[in-house]
Each structure stands twice: as C-alpha cells, then as structure tokens.
C-alpha cells in the first residue's frame, strides 16, 4: 500500500551548501535529482566561488519530503558534486535579497517609505503609483517585510532564495561536513 504524505505536516527546512564542479549542466543534474526522487526544494541559489573550478549551490530542503540523510547521500552520488555541508541555522549566517514593486500612490507612498525605513530597506525607484524597494537580510526578516508590504499590493515580487555561510565565533566554524563519499 502506498503511504501518502500528510498535507497538514509542519514543514522543516534544512540548508545544504553544495560545492559542485563549475561545468555545464550541473545545476540541471541537481534539480533533476530532486525531481526524480520526489524531494522538495524550498529555495535554491547558485553562484561561482572564489575558485573558478567550482560553484556553490545553496539549497533549502523541505526535510519532511525525504530524510535529509537520503537527500545528502543521493546528492553525493552525482559525479560533479564535490562536497556537501549541512548548515545548522544556529551556527550559520543566512541572507536573502528581496526586490518588490509595491502599489503606492500619493496617499500610501509615505507609509511604504516608512516601513522600508524601519527595516533598513532601500527605495530604488518611484513612479506615480508604484515604488520599487529592496531589502537584504535574514530570511525571516525578509518574510516580515514582505508581510507588511502585502496590504499595499504587490505589482511584482522577487526573492533570491537564501545563501548561507558558517558563523565565525571564537571556536572553529561549526561546519558539519557530511561524511561518506559515494560511488
């Protein structure tokens, strides 16, 4: 009998920092793996690293869709995946960028500007009835900002997905390398 997922479950997220070879098609391989094995991606960000042989993919995984251990092991099986680190939210710095064009005419423009100022966001462009704002920050702060802007009405909204690095404190960075290289 097939076990169907419980749709009322609480979603838990894990952030994986995946170092991959900087080659054509690698992102497609990662995305294809998630789709093939029915794992859910919450967000995904890709960029080159300081070493041009490698790129870093930061994936936020919905860990309820599959045990994180399986996701990591299957990712490791991709030949182009070099290293995977799981970033514990308590021991990492996470950032995300939001760009939004909000409906704001002469009566509400001041309120939008006020919310943006409170969050240390920036106003990038203004027209008669719209304002484009940006905010960089912790994903939960970006969530709050988005919620407070929502009543004004979004013309367009774009978020980057989170990127993350291990937090530096007095001890060595608590970067937990996931063990086990794969065939």
């Amino acid at each position: 009998m097939t076990a169907y997922p419980d749709l009322n479950r609480v979603v838990t997220h894990h952030t994986l920092s995946v170092l991959v070879e900087n080659k054509a098609g690698v992102l497609a391989r990662v995305a294809n793996l998630f789709s093939r094995r029915a794992y859910n991606i919450f967000s995904l960000a890709v960029a080159p690293t300081d070493d041009d042989r490698f790129s870093r993919i930061t994936i936020v995984v919905d860990a309820e869709s599959a045990p994180l251990e399986q996701v990591v092991k299957q990712l490791h099986k991709l030949i182009n995946v070099v290293k995977i680190s799981e970033l514990d939210p308590r021991a990492s710095v996470e950032r995300e960028l939001l760009l939004a064009t909000v409906r704001a005419d002469v009566t509400t423009r001041g309120q939008v500007a006020e919310v943006t100022r409170i969050f240390d966001g920036r106003i990038l462009a203004v027209s008669h009835d719209q304002v484009t704002v940006s905010l960089e920050g912790h994903p939960s702060k970006v969530d709050d900002f988005e919620e407070l802007l929502r009543p004004f009405g979004f013309a367009e909204l774009q978020r980057t997905g989170r990127v993350a690095l291990p937090k530096l404190d007095r001890e060595a960075p608590r970067l937990h390398t996931v063990k086990g290289k794969v065939s």
Partner: protein, 592 residues
C-alpha cells in the same frame, strides 16, 4: 601523433581493452564508424539499438567487463534509453556512445537531434557531452572508470559530429592518454569507499557470533564485487544459511547445504520465512527491494540488520541498519571472516542454533518447490520443461531470461552452482531483455552453452536480434515457453481482478514461431507433448553453427507459486493450493 576525433575515440576504446562493441551506424556517428574498419575491435551490427544495449549488458553480466554500445543520434539514442535504465537499476557496467548533431546545430531542432544527455541523466550513473576533439581520450577514460568502479553502472558519452569529422579542421587533435593521477584529478567529486570501517566490521562479527537465527541475505553486489568465494568462506566458517536474491542467483551454489535459494515475492517458502523469522540479517550487496521485503513495516520484524554496500545511499534507504558498512563486498567480507576467526580463536563460540536449523529443514521438507503433474493430453507444464532443460545441459550453462512467469520459474527450478551463469533483468523488469542479452552473453563467453528462456510476449519484443545472431554466427539457443498469454499479467488478473482477462491473450500460433525462427536463419522446433521435450532439447544442444529456437506449448493456467501478493507482509506467503492444509479448497480471499 595527430589524429581526428573519430580515430581518437576508437583508439581510446582500444586503450580501454575493448574487444567487442555492439551498435548500428547512422548520420551523426558516421565519422566514428569509418576508423572501425581499421580497428581490431569486433563490431556486431544489431537490428535495433535496444538490442545493442541489452547485448552490451549480457556481455557485461557474464564477463565482468564493461559492455560497449555505439549508436547514432536522435531516435537511436532514445531507443537505447531502456537498456541504460535497465543497466542503471541492475548496476551493470556499460559505456554507450551516441552520435550528436554538430555543435552549431545543437538547440536548433536539427534533423535527428535530441537532448540525449538531458533525457538520459536520470538513467545513467553519469553522462558527458563532449565539445572538443581534444577532450575525447580524457572523457572515454573517465567514462570507463566511472562505469566500472564504485557501484557499477551505465555511462553515456554524446559526441557531436563536427568534432569527429575529419573534414572539419577542429576535429584534429594531438593524441594523449591520461595517466591515473590525471584521471583522478579530473574527477574531484568521485572517490568511492572500498575499505570497510574496521570498528563496524568488528561489531558485525560480534553480532554474527551471538545470533541464534541468522541469515545471509545476498544480492547482486556480491557478483559485481567478485565476492562469491569470500561469501562461501564466510557462510561455511559461520555455518549460516544463505538466501540469494534474483540478482544473486549463482553467487552461492544452489547445491550447497547452506543454500536456501531465492527469497521474495516468488521466492521459495523457506527462503522467505527464514528472513521473516530471523534475528539477524546480514545484507551483503542487496538493497531491500520491495520484491524481497514485501510490506516493509512487517518485514523481518525481529531481525537486527548488518548492511554492507558500496553505495552509502543504500544504507538506511529502506530499512535502518544496526551496523552499516560502506565498502566493496569482497574486501569487507574478507575482513569480516578475519574478525570472526579472531573471535573464535580468542574463545568465543557460536550459540546453539539447532532449533533454528531444524525449523529450516522442517520448512524445506514441508514446502518444497512443487507443481502439479501434467494432465494427459493437455499443454506442457512450464516447470517440467525447465527441469528437462536443466538436467540435459552442462552445469555451467548460462541461462538468460526475459521478464514474467518464465523468469520466475527459471530462477526457481534451475540449479545455479556457478556465479555469472544467470542473466536477467531484475530491477527494471524489461520484457524483451532475453534474446539480445543472451547474444551478448554468448559473445562474451563463446566457450559456454547459452540458453535463453523466454516467454512468448517477451520474444515478440526483440526477436529480430536473432537475425544478428545468425549473421554473426552466434549460436544461442532460445526456449520459448509459449502459453499464448502475457502470463504474469494474466496471473494477476486471475487472482486480483476476478478473472477478468483484459488484453492479455496473444495467440499460440500467431506468429508461427518455427517459421519465424527459420526466416531469421535459425533452426526452429516445436514441442507439444511431453515425449517430444527431451529429443528437442537434445537436438538443440547438438547444433552449434547457428541459433536454435524451441517453442514449447505450455499450460496457460499455470501460476507462479509461492507468492506474496504485492503490498502484503511476507508472512502472508501463499504456497500452491495442493500444499495448503485444506488442499486449496478454502483458499483465502486475496486482496492487493
């Protein structure tokens, strides 16, 4: 040395020790076919690209060397997707080379263009789209390395026409062959673990020494790791019984006193129940496939698990092991043997397992594999045909099956006493696998007798490759168990769909298999009555200059037993009606 890309590709295959390849040329791969004329590599021209893929698999199964297939772009590439997926599911080392349209045409929907690497991404261990002639030796070396190390699997190399076409100046390259260190430097993300963790191995040895009802649950990984001898040593040292999964038949001799045979949906009663009631399962190169476990939460509920596999992703994928060990099965088993010896030398002893052993032999006595004798004048019992075939062929005959009832009967009734004598499609269950895979197996082991056991449904899917076999003088033998039905589907419709037979009837005599065989250059023989069985097999065995097809008219109502209905617990195993206490009169209502 200056070569063009096509020459470099063939030379790279020669460097990899390739002796034979299976393929079919076409537009985009033409420039690579030209240098084949001057190469010592034998090329076998197939009639359909799927055949090339399955032949390469059959060859790899019996030789342990990677099978090689080469086909053109577009439809040829899509035709070989099935063998790729089959090889991926069963961990068969295989390298497939496909032609591709010229680089400037990629993405333009050119004639016979398709996104081969995109399509095959999820059915290959890895694939490559080569963009420079100079990359060809490196990529071919990497492809063979990836296909044959770690958990073996298929690798595809897609070659655009312009980088191999001598008319294009950009196809010129300076020949080189990557060193071993250049090879590993080129694959920074690929380092398979082969040596097992010594502490885990010690722990496993201790568990083995304290178990009262242990079973070695052996899978295809044993064969991939060439670990049959090591396994035998472990089994005999520890005196533990062995079940061999469908992919592992032959990894442990069926005539060994510790062999319990095949477990799973159609496994024999003792193999299934021994796992179910065991207190320790030592899983060696097996993957807790649903056809073995039945309903997972009810599978071997009391058993602790030691799981050895070279692929870490298999450990904990289905059932969480108590002792996971990542590593090559042969190396790990050899260490495990040493660890058990050490414990025995330092005073440890096995617990009394007499009760368990008598339980096993009691099951074996009460529920042997059996079928009801044929009724005079009716069609043949397929099991009886297989017994005759088994008893009149050499002990090391290679048996190759398709998928369905005939596959299960073949696995049940054959006696596999040598590794690499059983070839079949396990994970993907590819109908039509048998005929081309048997041809590949015969090419790999021309010294051995190769019999394909096929169903009539399977045979009709890929029979045209017998033309290849006749043309290339590859004397395989095919036994068709012709019950005029898609038999396994019929069995499910009978048992689970109230005998409502939907689209499963083929026909006993359309096509006429004897005429069809003869048209393909084979000897064709039809067998309808029990007394014809033996003479037909003897005649087939005596022919060694061309393929033979023997069609056996078998009983369509015969079902495969025992059976664990899909999705049910293995404890719900059903023996054939005549072995049930009430003789089958009060057959339990079966639901899926």
């Amino acid at each position: 040395m200056e070569l063009n890309g096509g020459q470099a590709l063939i030379k790279s295959l020669e460097m990899e020790g390739v002796e034979v390849m299976f393929g079919l040329p076409g537009g985009a791969i033409l420039p690579v076919y030209d240098p084949i004329i001057d190469s010592p590599i034998r090329h076998i021209l197939v009639r359909h690209e799927q055949g090339a893929g399955h032949m390469a698999e059959g060859y790899a199964h019996v030789t342990g060397r990677p099978g090689v297939a080469m086909v053109t772009s577009g439809p040829a590439a899509t035709n070989i997707v099935t063998p790729l997926c089959d090889a991926y599911m069963d961990s068969i080392p295989m390298v497939v080379i496909t032609g591709q349209v010229a680089l400037p045409s990629i993405g333009t929907d050119a004639f016979q263009e398709c996104d081969t690497t995109g399509i095959t991404q999820s059915v290959t261990k890895h694939n490559f789209l080569v963009t420079k002639a100079a990359d060809i030796p490196r990529v071919i070396r990497e492809a063979f390395h990836i296909a044959t190390t770690g958990r073996p699997g298929p690798v595809l190399v897609d070659i655009p026409k312009d980088i191999v076409d001598p008319k294009n100046p950009a196809s010129a390259m300076k020949w080189y062959w990557p060193t071993a260190s250049e090879l590993t430097a080129g694959l920074p993300g690929y380092k398979p673990t082969t040596i097992g963790n010594p502490r885990q191995i010690r722990k496993a040895a201790e568990m083995i020494l304290s178990a009262r009802k242990p079973v070695l649950y052996v899978g295809g990984g044993i064969l991939k790791a060439r670990a049959a001898e090591a396994l035998r040593e472990l089994a005999e040292l520890t005196d533990i019984h062995v079940v061999t999964t469908l992919m592992a038949r032959g990894a442990f001799p069926d005539d060994h006193r510790l062999c319990l045979g095949m477990p799973g949906m159609h496994g024999n009663y003792t193999a299934v129940m021994s796992m179910q009631e065991s207190d320790l399962l030592v899983a060696l190169g097996s993957r807790f496939d649903d056809r073995v476990t039945g309903r997972v939460p009810n599978f071997a509920p009391e058993a602790k698990i030691i799981h050895v596999d070279i692929d870490p992703a298999e450990l904990g994928k289905v059932r969480r092991p108590d002792v996971p060990i990542v590593g090559d099965c042969r190396l790990v088993i050899e260490e495990l043997v040493k660890a058990v010896r050490h414990l025995l030398d330092t005073g440890s002893t096995f617990p009394d397992r007499q009760a368990w052993k008598s339980k096993l032999s009691g099951w074996q006595e009460r529920y042997p594999l059996a079928y009801e004798p044929p009724v005079e004048g009716e069609n043949l019992k397929p099991q009886m045909v297989l017994e005759h075939l088994r008893d009149s062929t050499p002990d090391d005959t290679i048996l190759v099956s398709g998928v369905g009832q005939h596959q299960m009967w073949a696995s049940q009734y054959w006696k596999f006493n040598h590794p690499y004598t059983w070839v079949n499609s396990g994970g993907l269950g590819t109908m039509g696998f048998s005929v081309p895979a048997a041809i590949g197996a015969k090419v790999g082991r021309p010294d051995k007798m190769v019999w394909s056991v096929d169903g009539d449904g399977c045979f009709q899917m890929t029979a045209q490759e017998l033309v290849t076999a006749s043309a290339e003088r590859i004397p395989v033998k095919v036994a068709i168990l012709n019950n005029a039905y898609l038999g396994m589907v019929r069995q499910w419709q009978e048992m689970f769909y109230d005998e409502r037979y939907s689209e499963v009837y083929l026909s006993p005599d359309l096509p006429d298999y004897v005429k069809w065989a003869e048209a393909m250059g084979c000897v064709g023989i039809r067998v309808e009555s029990p007394e014809e069985i033996q003479p037909a097999i003897d005649k087939a065995n005596s022919i060694d200059d061309r393929p033979v097809v023997v069609e056996f008219r078998t009983d369509a109502s015969e079902k495969v037993f025992p059976m664990v209905p899909s999705g049910q617990s293995n404890s719900e195993i059903q023996v054939p009606p005549f072995q049930r206490p009430d003789g089958g009169a009060g057959q339990k209502e079966i639901s899926q």
